[in-house]
């Protein structure tokens, strides 16, 4: 096989059995790889009703057919499982070199089943695969675990692991690879912790081959040129990182502030990408085969928050920033470092703290609940402390470790949780940008910007500009972006490649690598298929059409200040058209005809 390695590694931690099985080519054609193919495997193999933290859940690490090749910025992998934060199917994407290394070791994916009785790690050295004792690193943070496991395996091994947060099953624990890259959202790290699997360590020396080298070289040149000539993909993200978005979103009045009480923050520039570059950046970093280089190696010198690491990304800067009413970039960056070290999703961590601050200021949480901590908005010192406490489940942090939905529910005010389907909304105000709200409300993993990034056309004007405040045409736009992203994710590509290329270029790369001809229509249809597959899982596991919604604050409390003052979300108005264009009935269930058309029935 070309592109795909043709082998799936299956490891059962309950029995200790390690098996290698062939990749099903028919499924690979239909679901591509990474998010798509791993989701297909998960849906075929687990009951959607299972407890996500039970041994019955499976945890799949899956790069895509483009991962490991010189196709630009396509070295990613997804972690797929049933998520503990949402009870929905999760596919959390990460970069670095871990995904390509799995391919070089010879595997299209690794499926982890069951649960070990004591801490273990998986050591993959090409064909030799061992389950090894991890008791010496259990309890350790991500950088120390990485160093220590490399010392006993291979000093250049690629390594995905959990920190203390994953071990303690914080419901939004991340899986970190190469120290600073995160499969962040939905709590994949808690699933890894529930299986007592501290890490997967991999070294691969085999080859990935390409079906049509001539066509592939041409497709690579075209894609490289288009991305590198694009103002965002070629310049903006390298110079300022993703945090370049802070000032942009604030300038259009859609930077959520104080747990989404507002959509504008006067001091946003203090934590924006321009400030990050001027005062914190050591150098840009790039994942495997990346030509965009949005990664940030950074340093904080202020002794109070001193540290070094990577980030923050835009969503992290925003979450610990304006959403908590904080403008202290030293504290924000430190909070981000702690998340990376303990293995926490920055978005849910930050927004859960914002929710707690909101409940505290409204008097629903008091110092009796917090162990004496005053957690009002704007308190940077306490914010940093709460991150540490959550990762270790200490004191009030044990309550934050359940995410904002369960926290707000515990105190009788679920309306304070800024979530859809129990996952926190990221840094784009759905009152100021209508399409992104529809994407949040319909996202199969709960609110997520990376499932249908309509911010591109609605705010950035890429590849064309539409009115951010208008609802007209948005259902179609959201569906197109969601389908494209599902297919793109499944190749191993980074979403940021869309700052330069689209379905046409990705289909050309995929066809030349795999030797299977994907037209643009085939590619988009694969995305539609993957979306509907995920939807079917979610409908069986946890949700109905009633859950395709936003927090009521988005409809009832208008943005108070800034350019989008007075705006609310009109998501309900867009939903019937969204269902209809999706080929779903009025209850949001895919029709039999639709499923047949997608080869899902």
């Amino acid at each position: 096989m070309n592109g795909w390695t043709g082998v799936i590694l299956r490891v059962n931690l309950t029995t200790g059995e390690i098996k290698k099985e062939p990749t099903n080519l028919q499924n690979a054609k239909l679901f591509i790889g990474a998010r798509g193919l791993a989701s297909k495997m998960l849906c075929d193999e687990i009951d959607p009703k299972i407890d996500p933290l039970s041994p019955a859940n499976k945890l799949i690490f899956a790069p895509g057919p483009l991962s490991g090749t010189m196709s630009p910025s396509t070295g990613r992998f997804d972690v797929v499982c049933k998520a503990p934060l949402t009870n929905l199917i999760a596919a959390s994407s990460s970069g670095g070199s871990f995904g390509p290394e799995l391919k070089f070791a010879g595997y299209d994916m690794v499926i982890i089943e069951g649960a070990a009785k004591k801490p273990v790690y998986l050591w993959i050295n090409d064909d030799v695969v061992e389950i090894r004792d991890a008791s010496s690193v259990w309890g350790k943070n991500v950088p120390d675990t990485t160093d220590e496991l490399r010392a006993v395996t291979d000093e250049d091994a690629k390594l995905a692991c959990i920190g203390p947060a994953g071990e303690k099953k914080v419901l939004f624990a991340s899986i970190m690879n190469e120290m600073n890259r995160a499969a962040g959202r939905s709590g994949t790290g808690a699933v890894m912790g529930s299986k007592m699997l501290k890490a997967i360590v991999v070294v691969g020396t085999k080859a990935i081959t390409v079906a049509d080298p001539e066509a592939f070289e041409k497709a690579v040149m075209v894609a490289r040129k288009k991305i590198s000539e694009h103002p965002v993909g070629g310049t903006g993200l390298r110079v300022y990182g993703t945090d370049v978005l802070t000032n942009i979103l604030n300038s259009v009045g859609s930077l959520p502030t104080r747990n989404f009480h507002d959509g504008y923050f006067a001091n946003a520039d203090k934590f924006g990408g321009e400030t990050l570059t001027a005062k914190y950046l050591i150098r840009p970093r790039g994942c495997f085969s990346c030509i965009i280089s949005c990664g940030r190696a950074t340093k904080v010198t202020n002794p109070k928050y001193a540290g070094e690491g990577e980030g923050p990304e835009y969503e992290s800067a925003w979450g610990f920033g304006s959403d908590c009413n904080i403008d202290d970039m030293d504290a924000i960056t430190k909070a981000n470092y702690i998340c990376n070290e303990l293995g926490l999703d920055t978005i849910t961590m930050a927004t859960t703290i914002a929710c707690a601050m909101d409940l505290y200021e409204s008097g629903y949480i008091t110092t009796k609940d917090t162990g004496g901590l005053a957690i009002q908005f704007g308190n940077a010192e306490t914010m940093v402390k709460l991150v540490e406490m959550t990762g270790n489940r200490e004191g009030f942090g044990d309550q934050l470790a359940e995410g904002s939905f369960r926290l707000a529910t515990r105190y009788g005010h679920v309306e304070f949780s800024m979530t859809t389907k129990m996952q926190e909304m990221p840094a784009y105000d759905p009152r100021g940008v209508q399409g992104i709200g529809l994407n949040f409300a319909t996202s199969n993993c709960g609110a997520a910007h990376v499932r249908g990034y309509t911010i591109s056309p609605e705010v950035l004007g890429v590849p064309f500009k539409v009115d951010q405040h208008d609802t007209k045409g948005k259902p179609e736009l959201v569906i197109t972006f969601q389908n494209l992203t599902a297919a793109l994710d499944s190749t191993g590509a980074c979403l940021f490649t869309t700052f330069g290329i689209g379905a046409e270029e990705l289909a050309a790369l995929l066809s030349s690598v795999t030797g299977i001809q994907y037209s643009v229509d085939d590619f988009m249809k694969a995305g539609d298929r993957i979306w509907n597959l995920e939807r079917l899982f979610d409908l069986k596991s946890a949700i109905t059409s009633k859950d395709d919604c936003l927090p009521e604050r988005m409809m009832k409390e208008p943005i108070k200040t800034g350019p989008s003052k007075g705006d609310v979300s009109h998501v309900d108005k867009m939903m019937p058209e969204y269902y209809q264009l999706r080929g779903w009935d009025t209850k949001g269930i895919p029709t039999p005809e639709k499923l047949k058309d997608l080869s899902l029935a």
Partner: protein, 159 residues
């Protein structure tokens, strides 16, 4: 004038585009283990360093090679490898002080940078010009000058 592959670790993002381009150009497949250039990363410090054959003037690999397989190309700064003369004794691998000559079990050959016949694919693949193929004197001048600039700034502050 001789050209030289100059590395700039301060610019390197660690993306390994150079590694995969090299492996593809040389082997028509993606196998980083077979690349003639490697990038080592220190993740805590956020720094990466590319490594490849330095084409030494007084090259230990040529001195120890018993058959002349590893040899200097006359009139050039390039150290070339003639596979037909090689007896796979790996003396060059032993001798290289940088570890930049490697024996590949897959192809039963010594792998070492040959600057892609004066047109290095790694340089073309680097998205941030962290590796450059430049005239030797220009390469060193720009580096000397960048350090000189730091001195200049330090002196200006003092004055």
């Amino acid at each position: 004038m001789a050209k030289f592959i100059m590395i700039h670790p301060d610019k390197c993002t660690g993306c390994k585009n150079c590694v995969i381009a090299c492996s593809y150009v040389k082997e028509k497949q993606f196998r980083p283990a077979a690349a003639r250039i490697h990038v080592y990363a220190w993740e805590r410090e956020g720094i990466s360093v590319p490594m490849m054959c330095q084409q030494c003037s007084d090259a230990p690999c040529t001195t120890v090679c018993p058959t002349g397989a590893m040899h200097r190309v006359s009139g050039s700064s390039l150290i070339a490898y003639d596979e037909t003369k090689c007896i796979r004794c790996r003396m060059c691998v032993q001798a290289c002080p940088f570890g930049n000559a490697v024996y590949d079990t897959e192809t039963n050959a010594i792998i070492k940078c040959d600057t892609c016949n004066d047109n290095p694919s790694c340089v073309a693949a680097c998205p941030v010009n962290a590796i450059e193929y430049v005239e030797e004197n220009i390469a060193t001048r720009s580096r000397k000058k960048s350090f000189a600039k730091k001195f200049k700034e330090a002196f200006q502050e003092v004055a």
